[in-house]
Amino acid sequence: MWTVRGTRTGTILAAVATTVTALLCGCSTDGPQSHDAAESQPVAASAAGKSGVQLWAENCSRCHYARPPQSFSETQWEVIVHHMRLRADLTGQEARTIAAFLKAG
């Protein structure tokens, strides 16, 4: 049974709940597009006007040396980018743009 004890916990929990609720309600209109939909977008389509190669270099190379697009198949890149979207806190648009670049390579 979950019991929240102490004002510290309650305050943090309230802040977290408020944030998550706001995101759930406010941002739920932009659902993730399918791989097909993502593929239909040009590789140069961008998040904040950035190309796929630029986002790939900025986001992947921040933590590790990025593997070239030829390292994996298109399907594998889809799975990897999905995984890295969570791990590296990418937006959906950033993930789609990076995936399109990697798959085009």
Binding site: M1, W2, T3, V4, R5, G6, R8, T9, I12, L13, V16, T19, V20, L23, L24, C27, S28, T29, D30, G31, P32, Q33, S34, H35, A47, A48, E58, N59, S61, R62, C63, H64, Y65, A66, R67, P68, F72, S73, E74, T75, Q76, E78, V79, I80, H82, H83, R85, L86, R87, A88, D89, L90, T91, G92, Q93, E94
Partner: protein, 442 residues
């Protein structure tokens, strides 16, 4: 066509006529009588009919033979082709890269020579399983496999589950999930931990076993990122089984044990991280986790963990290379409690507020823009890290290390590392160490 028929008929007539000519001559007359003419005419007509019948038969036979014979000859071929196609599809489906399932992970092989501890080889293997059944859904599972040998020479294999979660993409800015996951407390465990990403052979003290920061915990989470103009805000929030307060171990009482796969005390912790990227090269973050951690038969004890982190990566043409600066600091406060109240465990009664802190600063440089290939693959690393805990606490110490290292990058995900560590402890002998490691990303 008609012309050839005529010629054929004429030829036959000629042949017949010659046959007739070769035949014994009529004994009575040398000319053809009306009766003979009529007979020849009938014979010609009869031959013409036979020839036409023969042609029709041939035509009919040709038309009938093909469809009749094909089912017997090509039927098995069609069946064989179908089976071949099915087999090809099955083989194709089994080929790497054609399914939304991926086996990744990392591995390392190392050598450590540490003062007061001797020298040893070591190895780890950490497979990571990823399965994406739909565009929104992702299953992840990972575990660390390693071997240890205790002071009594007993060897054992350690298998530690680090990830077993499922996540769902709600929209472009939010993902939710649950299970056993690497909590985003600071950046190290979430980003830099794998041996092909970590630029030194070992972990900073604060993120190593017995450190202050949680690694994997069990619960639910929400995470995502929100672009704000040219900047970006990242956020993570989670509720997990709270870490367990160690109360009876004379060497670790007052410390927290991670992870808690099952909740035995009804204690939960909540936490999260806010990150901000004012520009792509820099990320700064603040993390917090709070919860009740005491066992059920113990006083009410809460723990508050906080962390601040910063990470800067930049290609600098002036230096012909890339610089990477990382800094993280963790504060861990466990409320005051009395351990071994009756003195039966041999270290109490001990009243202790376990306030600990530690972190690391790391700088690395790789001359990525020089022409020499060998030089381009080298990376030079320096790190300072420390961990302070109350000296009167069980296992308490003040330890700090200076580490210098050099890496050689074989590929973007394979690196050979060598480092020397200068160690200083307030309590106990300093343990300088020479470390070598091959880190591989799979």
């Amino acid at each position: 066509m008609n012309r050839s028929v005529c010629w054929t008929v004429l030829l036959l007539v000629a042949l017949c006529a010659s046959a007739r000519a070769d035949a014994p001559a009529p004994t009575t007359q040398d000319y053809v009588s009306r009766e003979e003419y009529e007979r020849l005419k009938r014979d010609q007509e009869s031959l013409r009919n036979e020839l036409n019948a023969l042609r029709r038969d041939r035509a009919d036979t040709g038309a009938q033979v093909s469809p009749a014979s094909q089912p017997t000859a090509e039927g098995p071929l069609d069946d064989l082709q179908r089976q071949l196609d099915e087999l090809r599809d099955q083989v194709h489906r089994g080929l790497p890269g054609t399914e939304h399932f991926l086996l990744a992970g990392d591995a390392s092989i190392g050598f450590a020579s540490q003062r007061k501890n001797g020298s040893t080889f070591n190895a780890t293997f950490s497979p990571l399983f990823l399965w994406e059944p739909t565009d929104r859904l992702l299953f992840e599972a990972a575990f660390d496999v390693s071997g240890t040998t205790d002071p009594n020479a007993n060897s054992s294999t350690d298998v530690n589950l680090t990830i077993a979660d499922v996540s769902y993409l709600m929209n472009d800015y939010l993902a939710v999930g649950g299970g056993v996951f690497i909590v985003p407390f600071g950046q190290y465990h979430n980003h830099f931990d794998p041996p092909w990403i970590n630029k030194l052979p070992d972990d900073p003290l604060v993120f190593s076993d017995g450190g202050l920061a949680p690694n994997s915990q069990t619960g639910i989470f929400g995470r995502g990122a929100i672009p704000i103009g040219p900047t970006k805000l990242t956020y993570d929030a989670y509720v997990v089984n709270a870490p367990n307060l160690i109360t009876r171990d004379p060497a670790a009482a007052g410390s927290l044990a991670f992870p808690a796969f099952t909740n035995q005390n009804g204690n939960f912790a909540i936490g999260g991280r806010l990150g901000f990227l004012p520009f792509p090269e820099l990320e700064i973050g603040y993390s917090i986790e709070e919860g009740r951690v005491s066992p059920s038969n113990f006083a009410d004890v809460h723990a508050l963990l906080q962390a601040a982190d910063a990470h800067y990566v930049k290609d600098v043409p002036f230096l012909s290379g890339r610089i990477d600066l990382r800094a993280e600091w963790v504060w861990s406060n466990v409320d005051r409690a009395i351990y071994d109240r009756r003195g039966t465990l041999g270290f109490g009664p001990l009243a202790l507020t376990n306030y600990r802190d530690g972190g690391y600063l790391q700088a690395s440089y790789r001359p990525l823009m020089v022409n020499n290939r060998i030089l381009r693959n080298l990376e030079f690393v320096a790190r300072y890290d420390r961990l302070r805990s109350p000296l009167r606490a069980p296992g308490g110490n003040h330890e700090q290390r200076w580490t210098i290292g050099v890496d050689y990058w074989l590929t973007p995900s394979a690196v050979l590392k060598a480092a020397y560590e200068f160690d200083q402890k307030k309590s106990g002998p300093d343990q300088n160490a020479f470390l070598v490691q091959l880190g591989l990303g799979l």
